[in-house]
């Protein structure tokens, strides 16, 4: 059977001045339709790089990546944009709603870029907002909503394009624990309804909500299996070799931690 996501010997190598950094160091990974996978790792583990490549925001230095059977590892920017538009739904830590647009316009954005007609856009945006229970707020600006509500709008936006993969990057990072739990249970519900969800996090307590955990360290997979396995949540030893690529993520993790 064909895998939805298939990494074959993926390397991502950055040149930081004199130093060569292997953000991903030969990763093989497959994710199938309907899975709920958490990619876990500390800052510098390469999880953000993995998420960028899965999300078609970046291309690997070497290796191949097939998404839905299509080789996307060597695509040009605009081709990647089309793949993102059609096959991926992003949920970000900072919600990333456009402040000038109201809730419905935000949700319609991926459909707008897909060239969907105005009428159908409205319809699908409202349906998507109904799924997250925010249809009544559709004329509000993001700034008029709470953090949890904003994150639900961004989920509605991710769903609107009817993507193959929902890619959630630290979706609870900016939320209090109760709202965070709500968002996670919503992702579980989406998965139960058949959506494929890939969650990127540094937090074990969040990762265990997924069905499967893929743990990265220094650009390599050190665990890949059931999230209920006790081995899945064993913290690896501190290596101290922080990956420059994930420096920013590390910063966010610290901020959130406080």
């Amino acid at each position: 059977m064909e895998h939805l996501i298939e990494f074959k010997d993926i390397y991502k190598i950055y040149q930081m001045g004199e130093e060569t950094v292997h953000a991903l160091d030969g990763v093989d990974l497959t994710i199938d339709q309907g899975e709920f996978v958490a990619i876990v790792g500390q800052s510098g583990s390469g999880k953000s790089t993995a998420m960028n490549i899965i999300g078609c925001l970046d291309v690997p230095t070497s290796g191949t990546y097939h998404l839905g059977g299509i080789d996307v590892s060597t695509m040009e920017d605009d081709q990647q944009a089309e793949i993102r538009n059609k096959m991926l739904g992003f949920i970000f830590q900072q919600y990333n709603l456009i402040p000038k647009l109201n809730v419905q316009e935000n949700v319609e954005l991926p459909l707008l870029y897909a060239g969907v007609s105005a009428e159908e856009r409205h319809e699908r945006a409202i349906r998507s907002l109904e799924r997250v229970g925010l249809a009544d707020k559709r004329k509000n600006l993001p700034s008029q909503l709470s953090g949890g509500q904003q994150q639900r709008v961004s989920i509605a936006r991710a769903l609107a394009g009817n993507p193959s993969v929902i890619l959630a990057d630290e979706p609870t990072g900016a939320l209090d624990s109760r709202t965070g739990r709500e968002v996670l249970s919503f992702l579980q519900k989406l998965n139960a309804e058949g959506d494929t969800v890939v969650l990127i996090t540094h937090d074990n307590s969040i990762a265990v909500k997924a069905k499967r955990i893929v743990r990265l360290q220094d650009g390599r997979i050190i665990y890949d299996g059931d999230s209920q396995d006790p081995q899945a949540v064993v913290q690896p030893e501190e290596t101290g070799a922080a990956d420059e690529d994930d420096g920013f993520a590390a910063l966010l993790v610290e901020e959130v931690g406080e």
Partner: protein, 406 residues
């Protein structure tokens, strides 16, 4: 992507920072307003001149002949003979000599009064008008006999009748350079009846004028062609005759009124083109202002660009969004500039009417539809042109970096 949404977004972001938007558009507003004002003035001037020419008639052919003082010189009778010889092209001719002479009536002196020596054909009996368009109000015009016998009679303008004779001039006498002339006719008011205007004039027989004028170095002949369409042929006939006399084209200039009009028009057009070009520099400066603010806007909205790209916006979607925004900014600026320009042109019309006292039928600075369209088109084009660089910068942003931008 969708033009409508880009346009709405652009208007929205313009409205959120009104002061900044206004300052951004200022260069375009001033440039477009200046272009509109200049083209309006040019158009008004052209219309005004054309009206003057229309009054005079479109079938006039003017011959300016330089006098050599020798026997070569063409005489008025030669010109009359020409009209008789070619009745199918020429319907009349009159000398038309402006002379220097002081006009006196009693103790009053009229220094600015224009004195012209003309023939009886200067007056068109059927239309009751003279060649400059004024109509005869009272009395009669100069007759063939007046000219032939060098009678001391004259026809005067309405201003002179009012000022010199208190509104009743017929049969009374005034002097031109000391020589007495009896008023036989008075023209209707054609200008604003002020000193030095077209109503401040005297027409005397050219035969008299030749004596009074002294050493003239040229004479003017006004021919009328049978029709507007025969004007060019009539011109050729006059030129041929003059060439036969002088064997040198340097001694005369023959122009049809259409040519005179064209010459004036092209002069005005050239002047307008130069002024418009200068005004257009302001448009260029305005364009640079837009580019500057768009570059700032792209930086400010880096994160938005990242979000849009992550949702599937292609380079060209982002590019067109920013280009539409720049185009909208300059188009709105252009619109404001057009309105401002039209208001200013109207104000100038009123000021000129006030200063010259010509009222509403004088000079009107009229914006042309073409001028407005071009000004608007150019302002939009400038927005697009100068918006391209910032828009391209936005389109080329890396989505990962843009998403992380704070």
């Amino acid at each position: 992507m969708n033009f409508g949404q880009s346009f709405r977004l652009a208007v929205k972001s313009l409205m959120t920072s009104k002061m900044r938007s206004l300052l951004t558009m200022l260069g375009i507003i001033i440039g477009v307003a200046a272009v509109i004002i200049i083209t309006s003035l040019g158009n008004g001037m052209q219309n005004y001149m054309n009206d003057q020419f229309e009054e005079m008639g479109s079938n006039l052919v003017q011959a300016q002949v330089y006098l050599t003082g020798s026997s070569l010189d063409v005489k008025a009778d030669d010109m009359y003979a020409l009209v008789e010889k070619y009745p199918q092209y020429l319907s009349g001719v009159t000398p038309y000599n402006s002379i220097q002479g002081t006009v006196r009536q009693g103790s009053d002196e009229f220094k600015r009064t224009s004195v012209y020596g003309v023939g009886e054909t200067f007056y068109n009996v059927n239309k009751n008008t003279i060649m400059t368009g004024s109509s005869l109000g009272k009395g009669r015009f100069l007759s063939y006999v007046d000219v032939e016998r060098e009678m001391a009679v004259c026809v005067i303008g309405s201003y002179l009748e009012q000022e010199a004779f208190g509104g009743d001039a017929l049969g009374k006498t005034l002097t031109v350079s000391g020589a007495p002339f009896t008023v036989v006719g008075v023209l209707d008011q054609s200008g604003d009846s002020s000193e030095g205007s077209s109503d401040d004039c005297i027409y005397i027989p050219y035969t008299q004028a030749n004596r009074l004028g002294g050493s003239q170095w040229y004479v003017l002949y006004m021919f009328t062609s049978t029709d507007r369409s025969t004007a060019a042929a009539a011109k050729g006939i006059v030129e041929n005759r003059l060439f036969k006399a002088y064997h040198d084209t340097d001694y005369y200039v023959v122009l049809t009124s259409a040519e005179m009009m064209d010459a004036m028009d092209s002069m005005v057009n050239l002047l307008m083109a130069i002024l418009t070009l200068i005004a257009a520099i302001s448009l260029l400066v305005g364009g640079i202002g837009i580019m500057n603010i768009m570059l700032v806007s792209v930086t400010e909205r880096t994160r938005e660009i990242g979000i849009r790209k992550s949702l599937g916006a292609k380079g060209r979607d982002i590019r067109s969004q920013f280009i539409i925004e720049a185009g909208t900014t300059s188009a709105i600026g252009g619109g404001i500039g057009i309105v401002l320009g039209i208001i200013m042109a109207n104000a100038i019309t009123n000021v000129i009417a006030l200063v010259l006292g010509t009222g509403n039928d004088g000079f009107v600075a009229m914006p042309t539809l073409q001028g407005i369209a071009v000004a608007f088109g150019v302002s939009v084009a400038i927005g697009i042109l100068f918006g391209y660089l910032p828009a391209n910068k936005a389109a080329k942003l890396n989505p990962i970096d843009a998403l992380r931008y704070d």
